[in-house]
Symmetry: C2
Subunit: 333 residues, 2 copies
């Protein structure tokens, strides 16, 4: 099988590394390798139908800032350069119009390629359209890493909890906000906690997407569509971020044995992101940068899962499980 | 597809009910029903190749104590009575020799039938032999409900975390012990906590299997074999139960910010069940009857999952996900 990696920042480099490390795993499970035949970043690309050395790609990127020697004007020129089976789409999320990620995914599906993505934009904006196109063209598309990073949730609901209704999911889907709110639990003001999150590398220099709840909103939309069969988009989410939470609110919560957490909530009828009072000791009161979800099921009651919501190898872990699922179907276990 | 249910106690009745409730689900997903063509309890059986009404089976059992009119001398006489595709094996666990569950599973595999089971005995005693026979005869066998009840763990590790090494799993795999230990956290002596667990229906009148750690031991063996590719049996587990834990030990733990929990631990080299000191606030410090597991992974770091470890519909939920997985493979999604 042949993969093309779109996006060669932290996540793209992580999955290239992991695919290389797992050479023996693929060989043993499928009797064939998973080759990286193409890779592109925001400007450059490279390809080789015989497969490329991941270490070399990483070294190129590190020394030149470019994954390849070639420059493209339209992304499809890069994608046209070599035949591949699976698109690994890991360009940055854009919730305005889906950005280049949307174009890349559409290109792949229109060319009957399978897709693994962690890009939230396209799925938060045009989920149904993308899934319909995939089905029409016989493509598999998986996106475990779009929600919760390394924390399994989409495939967990669809496979491990198959055959029963999921009633609702409530979760902490943004580690940056949770880090800030945990710091505020200990008396830090919002601004200082945010600054610390930025220093620790948890928050971007422009933290809007995190602290305004937009990132969490993308994730609940994807859950609404993939788990609850809804046809929702980003604009359908009621979003309240954490910027207006002050020390008084946190202190008042504390005197009542509660903490404030940014909770995404989704069900057949709900689609919300908002700060919520959570009793201390409740699974959703967890401090730190982990993501956590509480899944309320028809027969199994509540199932709780937590894991690292972001990170180079953590996200690669979600991508790997999707690659394996696709290769299991295409080649057989 | 046609199922034969072996064992018609709490779990057998639960899965019969759920299969009936999900008639439309099967029809929609597969274009055909999942028929219950046979059912047996410890003495009686019944069959109908056209499928039987679950409500009637439950009513029979309730009013007569028997699932069917017919009496068998050897279980295989019941299994011989009707053609079926999937054996649902939910007789009680027997860790001496696997009991009737072992015979039923062997019968099914020898007759090229797929198997879903929550019976821990056969898999804790002869895992490798059973898997080899299944593979030889082209049978699928799934057993999510043997560990953690409704809490997804086996399929979670094998599918959702596919493509990376699982380094270790530590967990609370017995809700009864956890209930008792939680009560002891609050100052109750062991005997009183056990009595309360029995009154609440969490502990059997003979609580040996739970409090001596045998039940947890079965579960870690199954994880060792299914997740870590080991060839372990029940006798390989280092087992210490909770009967020797006294109020002093619990109080001492408490003064150090710890609680005592019965932890099952498994890795490529470890296979243990023992009471452990767990810091308060750690996922494994959870009070109550839930099961919890902390899965340490190669790329994703720790993933934690928790859910109800037992119960009629909770266990049926695990069985359902296995039935769906088998039918997906046999019929296609």
């Amino acid at each position: 099988m042949k993969a093309f990696i779109c996006g060669f920042g932290t996540i793209g480099q992580g999955i290239a590394q992991v695919i290389a490390e797992k050479e023996d795993y693929f060989q043993e499970r499928y009797g064939q390798p998973l080759l990286i035949v193409g890779a592109m970043d925001s400007k450059s690309y490279c390809f080789d139908k015989k497969g490329m050395d991941a270490a070399e790609l990483l070294e190129n990127k590190k020394t030149t800032g470019r994954v390849g020697d070639r420059t493209y004007t339209k992304p499809e020129d890069a994608l046209d350069s070599v035949d591949f089976d699976i698109l690994i789409e890991v360009t940055p999320t854009d919730v305005e119009d889906g950005g280049v990620g949307m174009d890349n995914i559409m290109y792949a599906l229109n060319h009957k390629k399978d897709v693994v993505t962690v890009n939230k934009g396209p799925l938060a904006l045009k989920y149904r359209e993308i899934m319909d196109l995939a089905e029409e063209n016989g493509c598999l598309i998986r996106f475990e890493g779009t929600v919760g990073g390394a924390m399994p949730i989409i495939n967990l609901c669809k496979s491990d909890l198959a055959g029963q209704k999921i009633k609702s999911i409530r979760g902490i889907f943004n580690g940056t906000c949770n880090y800030i709110l945990s710091k505020m639990d200990n008396g830090q003001p919002f601004e200082q906690a945010l600054k610390e999150a930025q220093q620790q590398g948890y928050a971007e220099s422009d933290p809007t997407s995190d602290v305004e709840g937009y990132d969490s909103a993308c994730k609940v939309v994807i859950l609404a569509n993939s788990i609850f069969g809804r046809n929702a988009t980003f604009d359908d989410v009621d979003i309240t971020g954490i910027t207006s939470i002050n020390a008084d609110a946190v202190a008042l919560a504390k005197t009542n044995g509660m903490v404030i957490r940014l909770i995404g909530e989704v069900s057949a009828t709900k689609l919300e992101v908002a700060p919520r009072l959570i009793p201390k000791g409740h699974p959703l009161s967890l401090p730190g940068t982990l993501n956590t979800a509480e899944i309320i099921t028809e027969y199994a009651g509540p199932i709780t899962v937590s894991g690292k919501g972001a990170g180079r190898l953590e996200t690669a872990s979600a991508i790997m499980s999707d690659l394996v699922a696709i290769m299991d179907k295409r080649i057989g276990e």
